[in-house]
Amino acid sequence: MRRYTGAKGQSLKTFLNGVWRDHPIFSMILGICSALAVSNKVENAIAMGAGVTFVLLATGLLIAMLRKLIPTRVRMITYMIIIATFVIVVDRVLKALFPDISQAIGPYVGLIITNCIIMGRAEAFYIQNNIGQSLIDALANGFGYTYTLVSVAVVRELLGFGTILGFQVMPEGFTKWVVMAMAPGAFFVLAIFIWIGRSLAGMEEE
């Protein structure tokens, strides 16, 4: 593995870890529930990715800021209330500004609270690192999560609905693969994505 030195090198390493080596979905297999549920349309995937990224950034900022103050014994509950607060903010803002998307992804916004990526990054990273590094880590993980969701959603929307972002892409008379729009399609596509990602990153089963 290459060595990164200095503050800049450290930031780059943090970022690359998030989007590639420690990628939340194909390396850590975290956040799978929402990745399966919300990846049926590209629009929903982008909204969900943006929501998770925002919660990661806000949580990362606050926890890194308070990391010396948070008593060890109550750190979990501290993460929970901080995450819950930002998730409720995302939910309200979506409802107010993008009611259609809010309707489409419904309960999954609330379930960002239980998305293990956020809890996992809080415990593994934000509580031990400074604000700058935490924000970079949050951005990297949010980006990693979002591009996975969007890639899966592109395949599923294209085959399941014949559209991308609502625009007709497939020719008239294209037979829609209904299975892609439903849960089983998500399992197939996500599994293939994890397989490709892991092979490219050269990860071995332990």
Binding site: L69, I70, V74, I81, V89, V93, K95, P99
Partner: protein, 194 residues
């Protein structure tokens, strides 16, 4: 001991600050969300009444075409042509189903129907929201109650094809509509002096 007190103080202070932030967010977003819901309901009423509208000007179209009337505990919406729309609600197979149903001026035939909220199985029961299914209701006579029959078998003017693989939802949906109409139509009849 000092640690424990500090711990409690920390949780209380953080909790209060975050709660205050949420109250503020709630205060700012509530009016916008209520407005969105109102527009969603109004456009649903217009669709049930088969009135064409531009998504940008729901409010204007609604105000120009529909009059809101109240009778007892019932609110209904009446157009200049005396078509009447009314909200309905009931339990589907998995959760509440809510929407708007519109009836023709004779109070015997349906004009149209829309669904605002439902939690049926995606891909099966949730197909009750599809235009093809809902279009069947137009012109149906409901005075003796609507009936659900196997897909493709509807022949009489009160029969509705059910959805393949979603018989329970189809039945629940029809009985919600029957119940709501049975309750509300007499009230409207009284109100409109018929």
């Amino acid at each position: 001991m000092k640690d424990k007190i500090l711990m409690i103080v920390f949780v209380l202070v953080l909790g209060s600050i975050l709660t205050a932030a949420l109250v503020a967010v709630n205060y700012v977003t509530t009016p916008v969300i209520e407005k969105n819901e109102e527009i969603a309901t109004k456009s649903s009423i217009l669709r049930a009444l088969n009135i064409h509208f531009d998504p940008e000007s729901v409010e204007e179209t609604f105000a120009g075409n529909v009059e809101v009337r109240r009778r007892g505990g019932t609110t209904y919406y009446i157009t200049k042509k005396d078509d009447i729309a009314l909200p309905y609600a009931g339990s589907g197979l998995w959760g509440p189903i809510e929407g708007i149903i519109a009836v023709q001026p004779d109070l015997e035939h349906l004009k149209g129907i829309t669904i605002i909220r439902q939690e049926e199985t995606p891909g099966l029961g949730s197909r009750i929201t599809e235009a093809d299914y809902l279009a069947q209701f137009q012109g149906k006579r409901f005075t003796e109650g609507l009936e659900t029959v196997q897909p493709g078998r509807s022949s009489r003017d009160n029969q509705i094809d059910s959805i393949t693989g979603a018989t329970m939802t189809s039945e629940a949906f029809i009985s919600i509509i029957n119940e709501n109409l049975r309750e509300v139509i007499p009230v409207i009849r009284q109100g409109e002096g018929q």
